[in-house]
Amino acid sequence: MRRRGIALVMLAVAYRAVLPIHANEIPQTERRSGFGFMAPDTQAMQGDDTVNPGTLWVLDGEVLWNRKVGSADKACADCHTDARETMKGVAARYPAFDKARGRPVDLEQRINLCRTDHQQATPLPYESRDLLALTAFVARHSRGMPIEGGSDPRLEPFVAKGRELFVRRQGQLNLGCANCHDDNWDKRLAGSAITQAHPTGYPLYRLEWQSLGSLQRRLRACIAGIRAQAYDYGAPELVELELYLMSRARGMTIETPAVRP
């Protein structure tokens, strides 16, 4: 058992050693949220809660937070009481390490685990309006707070895996995430700003989607864009990528629900 532990640690060390520090990793002082790449009109849309369509989901989430569901007949609020207090800063820490599973879970998965384990209810499908609404409502209480993703030492090997996925070339176009988002974030792709891929505002309202969407939806769209096979919703690889991106954005401010073109 002990030997196995040592082997795991060595594996984690090996990951770090094998991966070169990327030449074009964005310096801390040059990090910018996608907000900074948007037109002033879109920025104004995000800045005003009565104009930001994401507010519709946040308000729905508040209703769901207080609604009793499942055979346990419990609402989120029955355990977690006032979300303004209990959910403050929570989204800034996710994906977080789940002891029982021995691996990171993202906010959507945590909500569904709460549903199955504590409310005895069926998990909500990914990208369903209810799951997006609850996630947006929870994450809204972290708005303005600094991202702390990946600071738990137990997450280190998973951050490393996420990073490995971020820099790995894949798909028919043979591109890794880093080829655009580290190397070419100051350029444009088909007229759109490439941006630095900091997930500061998820779930967010994309004008292109005409809906709120999760970070996993965004990642899957990017993976399809490089003509690679996208991982299924909830796949460990996507959660590790989310985790790496959140650790990469550590210290930046949560904007949920953000608006993006």
């Binding site: 005003d48 104009v51 369509p53 507010t55 519709l56 308000l59 004008l207 809906s211």
Partner: protein, 106 residues
């Protein structure tokens, strides 16, 4: 569940030009899309929006399939008297929503 977001200034001086912002939760399905099996996804849009100021219609808009989901409509009017703005959205499949907002004019 939340359906409308309304932004009307709570107070205004008589004669002020004020901005009214409205956002309605709606999918605005165009009717031009098809499912994987080739069936048309039936049109489901908001077709009409009306605003009344103390009972008098001050703004009306017809909406069409090219308008994006969650239509955001903003317009200006002159604050003449205290009272209420009443908003009404009507659409396909019997869609009907109302909302209202008060204003105090000094």
């Amino acid at each position: 569940m939340a359906s409308a977001l309304i932004n009307v200034p709570a107070r205004a001086r008589r004669g002020d030009v004020i901005e009214i912002k409205t956002l309605m939760s709606h999918i605005m399905e165009t009717g031009y899309r098809h499912t994987a099996s080739g069936d048309v996804v039936p049109r489901d849009i908001v077709t009409s929006f009306t605003c009344r100021y103390n009972g008098t219609e001050i703004f009306r808009a017809d909406l069409f399939p090219a308008i994006a989901a969650n239509p955001f409509i903003t317009f200006f009017t002159t604050a003449t008297e205290s009272g209420r703005f009443e908003f009404e959205w009507i659409g396909d499949r019997g869609f009907s929503q109302t909302a209202s907002a008060p204003i105090t004019v000094e």
